[in-house]
Point group: D2
Chain length 240, copies 4
């Protein structure tokens, strides 16, 4: 009995240390790899956006705006495909009968609002529009803009389909915000069988007195993704 | 110009305070509400399970084992449907070519392993089996066991379908582990249009030196779900 | 042995006759019921559309254009929600590396082409635009236009989510074309747990020398849906 | 005006002839190609199965049982991965509140019934079991049995995930029954971005007085898949 207990203790210690040394499967960039950017839009990244009051500090600390631009820029230079998954809300989305906490808030503050899918009235420069400095990249031929996602993840848009139809099975993920849309994209792309890495400083999140969205995201990126890069690291790999 | 800055400042303050008072949409339990339990299995909840070394502290602190039992018990008493979404791995899952960090670890430590889907050899009492004290509940007629999920979320099993086919649109979610399977279930059920609440002490997670899975889950439960209950609160509501 | 054979024969006959009397589960319209219309666009329904040469005969025989209008009209009168799932292709869809037969054809003939998701240039009156006579209905408040589907089914758009978020669990389905987008919508909505009926003469399909898409659709509507209506029948029910 | 009409007529004729010559994108078998077999179970393929009275004629005419065996056999010889997507119903599936026509029938006649997911009691030789002659192939290491699908398609099981996790993006599809599970698998795999071909005589379907499921399937295989093979043709390709 003593022996069994001892063995068990050793097993537990060894598992605990296995866990402490959480494996890092790694991520090799190859011709089947695309970049995915979630929500590179004013409402998250511009000081005029409706969430700047809560995400601004994290965006500034991480240097998120420049880091996302760095990814767009090297992709343009190298001809790497970038898939942008935007977030738009229309009038009919405001009549949803079922809403979680942040969904209720997003609708309340008019986040990502557009007049309609078949009109561009009022879109230019709005919170739903791209950050101005990203437009020259997003309008280029290496960038594919998918249908908008409607909650946080890509379950209801064509991101996974577009990636597959273009031959991609590996994804380098970045964008806003870290623990909501970016993380839900990471999780659902993993469930769809993609090999997913995340760029941890080309994202940011809401930080509130009791809620640190960015710290939460870092935990889950580390546990779920194949690898977590910094922008500097991924650029170095992409330049090879 | 000064005026604009001032207005902007007021707007930002007001948004920040809106955020600080993150809305709580609430969750009313009715006849369309079911309970969903993820992974009530030995490998998470038994001291003999392969992850006890890292989740045991959180399971103990939250009183998770008893709290999940409390949910099973009241559901049995009241005839409330419970959907259990288990986690099993077979031999062929060990030959996956694409694995994130925790997936690699789970396969390495033989977590949730079964000999096959069409054999029960070696299952009884294994890490993949139900916690012994839950069996009398799970074997009852009010409990529906779905196909196993294969990564963390229900994207690849029949949980959403079973809920819909049985007429449920609202979910009270609990089980293991908080920031992985439970949270991925929360996120994907929300993307499928379910109204989802979470029971925050009928779950637990791995806590490691630099990684607190439970804290991460609390952040995302609060931001994404319609409401976060304690076991005591939800039981009070269910008794009404 | 003779007895067993005889019993078996009786069983088989009885199963065959059960099948011959394929059950009709029926479909009761209630407050959880919405109408879904696929592809009410020029390329299918206008004599100027790119597929008229092959679908025109079926559209004309079924009186499809008027029957779809009848559904839009009564929905407008009664305030019934209609979800329109359109079909658009952008420049990037023409670089797909994987295409089935009809996908290859649709891209070849420029079907449903739009200049981009964020521009309306050239859209008005194009093959991708709504049939002109439907615009006064589609622009009304009871109609919700979802993201475009990208192959045939709603797997990659927000139709199921919008239905659920608005509280609908039952669908009356019509639109174009019967055995492709309409049928793929029927199949995937059933897989998502919706109760689905189809209006068999508010749809039509390509009829070619060796391929009768409409006949194929009728077989599968009958076997898969909960009920198959004619426009006249469904209008009678909706008027109640 | 006359000129426009003439041009239009020419355009229509040319489109019609494009359609008549429906493109055949073709399907090249390579190392990313797997075979998928739906429902190779007694209830469809054995004279004792509950549907033999309606599918037996089609199964016999197509030589379906032998053709599916041919696929299993060559896959075993060549080490090609085969994914089997089975169809099982448990007690709880019989309490679904929403059922289409065939779903209602399947439950009525006890098709694919099993006592439970965690018991094999009564399974051996039942309608839900594999056709006896396939067991020696299915039990081999090159065959992966997924979770059961629950309606017709793979939306609620792990087929797509298993294919992706094992590195496959191309599928050769066969099994039962042609216009229901096989076709729903074809459609949803296409929506998930797989390149799908179908083996038209390694499948069969219910043929009733007014309903020819097999003819319907042939129409949709031809229009939706990348290529339609005969067993002989695909074996020739696989032997290369």
């Amino acid at each position: 009995m003593e022996k069994i207990k001892l063995t068990l203790a050793i097993v537990l210690v060894s598992i605990s240390s296995v866990f402490a040394q959480l494996p890092d499967p790694g991520f090799t960039i190859d011709e089947n790899t695309a970049i995915v950017i979630t929500d590179p839009q004013n409402d998250f990244l511009s000081p005029n956006g409706v969430t700047w009051g809560v995400v601004g500090k994290s965006v500034t600390e991480n240097n998120t705006v420049d880091n996302i631009e760095t990814l767009f820029k090297i992709a343009q230079q190298k001809g790497i495909k970038v898939f942008v998954s935007p977030h738009y809300y229309y009038k009919h989305d405001h009549s949803w009968k079922i809403e979680g906490a942040l969904e209720a808030l997003m609708h309340k503050i008019g986040m990502f609002d557009r007049k309609g899918a078949l009109t561009t009235e009022g879109f230019e420069g709005s919170g739903a529009d791209w950050l101005d400095k990203y437009k020259k990249y997003i309008n280029d031929d290496n960038v594919i803009v998918t249908n908008p996602h409607k909650v946080y993840g890509p379950e209801s848009n064509d991101l996974a389909l577009q990636l597959r139809k273009h031959g991609f099975s590996k994804v380098i993920l970045a964008g806003m915000s870290a623990n909501l849309c970016t993380e839900s994209h990471m999780r659902d792309l993993v469930e769809s069988g993609f090999d997913v890495s995340v760029v941890k400083d080309a994202t940011a999140a809401a930080i509130l007195p009791d809620i640190n969205g960015y710290e939460a995201a870092l935990v889950n990126f580390r546990m779920i993704a194949s690898h977590v890069f910094t922008t500097e690291e991924v650029v170095k790999e992409l330049k090879k």
